[in-house]
C-alpha cells in the first residue's frame, strides 16, 4: 500500500476512461426571497481517478456548492454532471463517496468507534465486518486507542480525524472534503495536511477538497481549481508539477511559491471582475 512513485506519476494525468467527476456547462441558481442567486455558472470540469483536486476561492464563489452538487445535496439547474458515470443521485444511492464537513459533526452520544461505525450500521455491514473496518480506519487516521472515548474527550483535530475515518470506513473511492481543517489552528492543520497526503497515497482515493488557504491548496493538490464569485465560476485550473511525495518543507521551494503566486494572481483577477 506504500506510495509507489512510478504508479503515482502515472496517475497525475487523468485517464479519460476513468473520470470520477465530469461536469459540463454546470449551473445552479438559487431562488431566494431577494431574487435569484447564481451560485454556479457554466462550470466545465473533469476529475480523474486518483487525483487530488482543490477548490479555492473567496466566499460565495460556489466551491462548496459544487461539492454539494457532486454529493447530490444540491441539484444543478443547468448543464450535466456525472459521478462515476452516474447521476449524483445514483452515485449517492450507490454510496460512491464519503463526505467530510467543516464541523466534525460527530454524534456526541456515540463513542469514537460507534461514530465511525455509523455509516457501516446504516449500510448493513455485519458486526464483525464493522469491528474490523472501524479498527482499520481508526488506525489509518492514527486514532487507535481512542475507540471508547466520547467526542468531547478529543481535541478538535482528533475529532476531525475521526470524521475522516467515518468517511473512509465504507471504502468509497471518492472523498469530498469541505474545508475540513478550516476551524483548526495552523500547527494542527499542517500536521493534518501531512497525514492527509499520506492517507491519500496509501488509499489511492480521489479527493475533492474545498479550502480558503492558498498554501493548503498548493501543498495538497495535483490540481487546483481557482474560482470567483458572482456568479460562481471557474477562472483558472492549475496543474501542479510538484511530486506526489511532499515533505512539509516543500513549501519553501521556488516551484511551490510559483504555483502559490499563480493561485493568488488568479484569485485577484477574479476579484477585480466586480
Amino acid at each position: 500500500m506504500n506510495a509507489n512513485p512510478a504508479i503515482s506519476q502515472e496517475m497525475v494525468t487523468p485517464n479519460p476512461t476513468s473520470n470520477v467527476v465530469e461536469a459540463r456547462g454546470l449551473g445552479l441558481t438559487f431562488e431566494t426571497n431577494d431574487g435569484s442567486v447564481r451560485a454556479l455558472s457554466n462550470v466545465d470540469l473533469t476529475v480523474g481517478k486518483g487525483e487530488f483536486v482543490s477548490f479555492i476561492g473567496p466566499s460565495g464563489c460556489g466551491k462548496t456548492t459544487f461539492l454539494r452538487v457532486i454529493a447530490d445535496l444540491e441539484q444543478q439547474t443547468e448543464g450535466d454532471i456525472r459521478v462515476n458515470g452516474m447521476t449524483p443521485a445514483e452515485a449517492r444511492r450507490s454510496r460512491a463517496y464519503g463526505y467530510v464537513f467543516q464541523a466534525a459533526g460527530l454524534f456526541p452520544w456515540r463513542t469514537i468507534e460507534d461514530n465511525v461505525a455509523l455509516p457501516l450500521e446504516i449500510m448493513g455491514y455485519s458486526r464483525a465486518e464493522q469491528r474490523e473496518r472501524v479498527h482499520r480506519t481508526l488506525d489509518l487516521v492514527n486514532l487507535a486507542g481512542f475507540e471508547k472515548k466520547f467526542p468531547w474527550q478529543l481535541s478538535g483535530g482528533m475529532q476531525q480525524r475521526a470524521s475522516i475515518a467515518r468517511a473512509l470506513a465504507f471504502d468509497a473511492d471518492l472523498l469530498l472534503m469541505d474545508e475540513p481543517f478550516g476551524a483548526l489552528d495552523e500547527i494542527v492543520r499542517d500536521h493534518l495536511n501531512e497525514q492527509l497526503l499520506d492517507l491519500w497515497a496509501r488509499t489511492q482515493k480521489t479527493i475533492c477538497f474545498v479550502t480558503h488557504s492558498i498554501p493548503e491548496a498548493v501543498y495538497l493538490s495535483t490540481r487546483i481549481v481557482v474560482m470567483s464569485p458572482r456568479p460562481g465560476r471557474v477562472t483558472d485550473v492549475i496543474e501542479s508539477p510538484l511530486p506526489r511525495e511532499r515533505p512539509l518543507d516543500i513549501r519553501e521551494t521556488p516551484e511551490f511559491l510559483e504555483i502559490a503566486h499563480r493561485v493568488r494572481e488568479g484569485l485577484r483577477a477574479g476579484h477585480s471582475d466586480e
Binding site: A71, D72, L73, R92, R93, R95, Y97, G98, Y99, F101, A103, G105, F107, P108, W109, R110, T111, L118, P119, E121, I122, M123, F150, P151, W152
Partner: protein, 306 residues
C-alpha cells in the same frame, strides 16, 4: 468547598460539614418558612379564638391565645405540627388498606397519574413524530394542541367523565385521561423541538449515506431528542398529578387525594386538606425525582460531559 473538605486533616465537625454543603442554607430557609407559617397561624386564627373567649366569658392572656390558636379543631390555618400530626396519624398510624390511610388515597391518585402520564407521553411523542415528518400535520395539528391547553381543565374534566361514562368507560381510565389531556402537551412541544434539534450537517451526513427515514429517525433524531424528552416528562408528570387530583374533584370520587381535599372542604377539615396537599407535593417531588434519576442514568450512558 469540596477542596476544603478533602484537605482537612481531621474529620470535620458535623457543624462544619453542614455549613460546607447545601444542608445549612436549606435548613435556614425551612426554619424561616416554618416561623412565618406559625406567625400566620396565630394571626389568622386569633379572631375566631377571641370570639370564643368572649362567648365563654373567660379571661385570656397572649400566651393563652398563642397556644389555643395552634390547637383549634377547624382552624383557618392549621399549625405545622397539627398537619404533621395528621399526616403521621393517617400514614404510619393507620393500616394501609384502611380508607382513612393517606397512603391508600395517595396510591389511588398515583395510579391514575401514572396511567395518564404514560398515555400522555406516548401520545405526545407520536404527535411530535407526525408533526416533524408530515407537513400537513405540522401546519394543522400544532394550533389545536395549543388551543386544547387554553380550555380550563376544571371545565372540561366533568365533560370527559360524563362522555366516557356514556360510552361505558368508568373507573381509572376516565381520570387518567384527564391527566393525559394535560401531560401530552409539554411532551409534544418538547419533542418537536427535540426531533428538530439535529444540525443541518448531521442530516446531510445521513443523506450522504443514503440512510432511510427510519434509520435517520432512530440513529439521529431520537437520540438528539432524548434530553428534551426527559425535561418535558418532568413537567408532564407533575401536571399529570394535578390532572388526577382535579379529575377526582367533580366526579364525587370516594378515594384519592382529590376526594380527600373535597371531603375536607365540605366539613371544614383544614388540617385534612393541608395534609393531603403535603402528600400531593411529596408525591410530585418523588415522581420528578425518579425521572431525574432516569435522566441521569440515560445521559451518563450517552456519554454526557459530567
Amino acid at each position: 468547598m469540596s477542596l476544603a473538605l478533602t484537605t482537612a486533616p481531621a474529620a470535620p465537625s458535623l457543624l462544619h460539614r453542614l455549613a460546607a454543603g447545601k444542608t445549612l442554607p436549606v435548613l435556614i430557609v425551612l426554619a424561616a418558612l416554618l416561623a412565618l407559617w406559625y406567625a400566620f397561624t396565630v394571626y389568622l386564627n386569633a379572631p375566631w379564638q377571641v370570639d370564643a373567649y368572649e362567648r365563654a366569658g373567660t379571661t385570656w392572656t397572649t400566651a393563652d391565645l398563642v397556644r389555643d390558636t395552634m390547637a383549634q379543631e377547624r382552624p383557618v390555618m392549621p399549625a405545622p405540627h397539627q398537619v404533621a400530626a395528621e399526616i403521621w396519624k393517617t400514614t404510619a398510624g393507620t393500616r394501609i388498606t384502611s380508607k382513612r390511610s393517606l397512603f391508600h388515597h395517595a396510591w389511588v391518585t398515583l395510579s391514575s397519574t401514572l396511567l395518564g402520564f404514560l398515555i400522555g407521553t406516548v401520545l405526545g411523542v407520536l404527535l411530535a413524530v407526525g408533526i416533524v415528518h408530515n407537513r400537513a400535520m405540522d401546519k394543522s395539528v400544532m394550533p389545536w394542541v395549543i388551543a386544547s391547553q387554553t380550555i380550563p381543565i376544571l371545565a372540561i374534566a366533568p365533560m370527559i367523565i360524563v362522555v366516557l361514562n356514556a360510552i361505558g368507560l368508568s373507573g381509572l381510565l376516565p381520570k387518567a385521561l384527564i391527566s393525559t389531556y394535560l401531560s401530552f402537551f409539554p411532551v409534544v412541544v418538547g419533542m418537536v423541538k427535540g426531533f428538530r434539534s439535529p444540525e443541518v450537517n448531521q442530516l446531510d451526513l445521513m443523506r450522504t449515506y443514503n440512510a432511510s427515514g427510519p434509520q435517520t429517525f432512530w440513529k439521529l433524531r431520537w437520540p438528539s431528542a432524548l434530553p428534551y424528552l426527559f425535561t418535558s416528562m418532568k413537567v408532564a408528570v407533575a401536571i399529570s398529578l394535578v390532572g388526577a387530583i382535579v379529575g377526582e374533584l367533580p366526579t364525587g370520587a370516594v378515594a384519592g387525594l382529590g376526594a380527600r381535599l373535597l371531603a375536607g372542604s365540605y366539613y371544614g377539615q383544614t388540617v385534612q386538606i393541608w395534609s393531603a396537599l403535603f402528600m400531593a407535593a411529596a408525591l410530585a417531588a418523588l415522581l420528578v425525582g425518579v425521572i431525574g434519576i432516569g435522566q441521569r442514568l440515560v445521559m451518563a450512558r450517552m456519554g454526557e460531559k459530567p
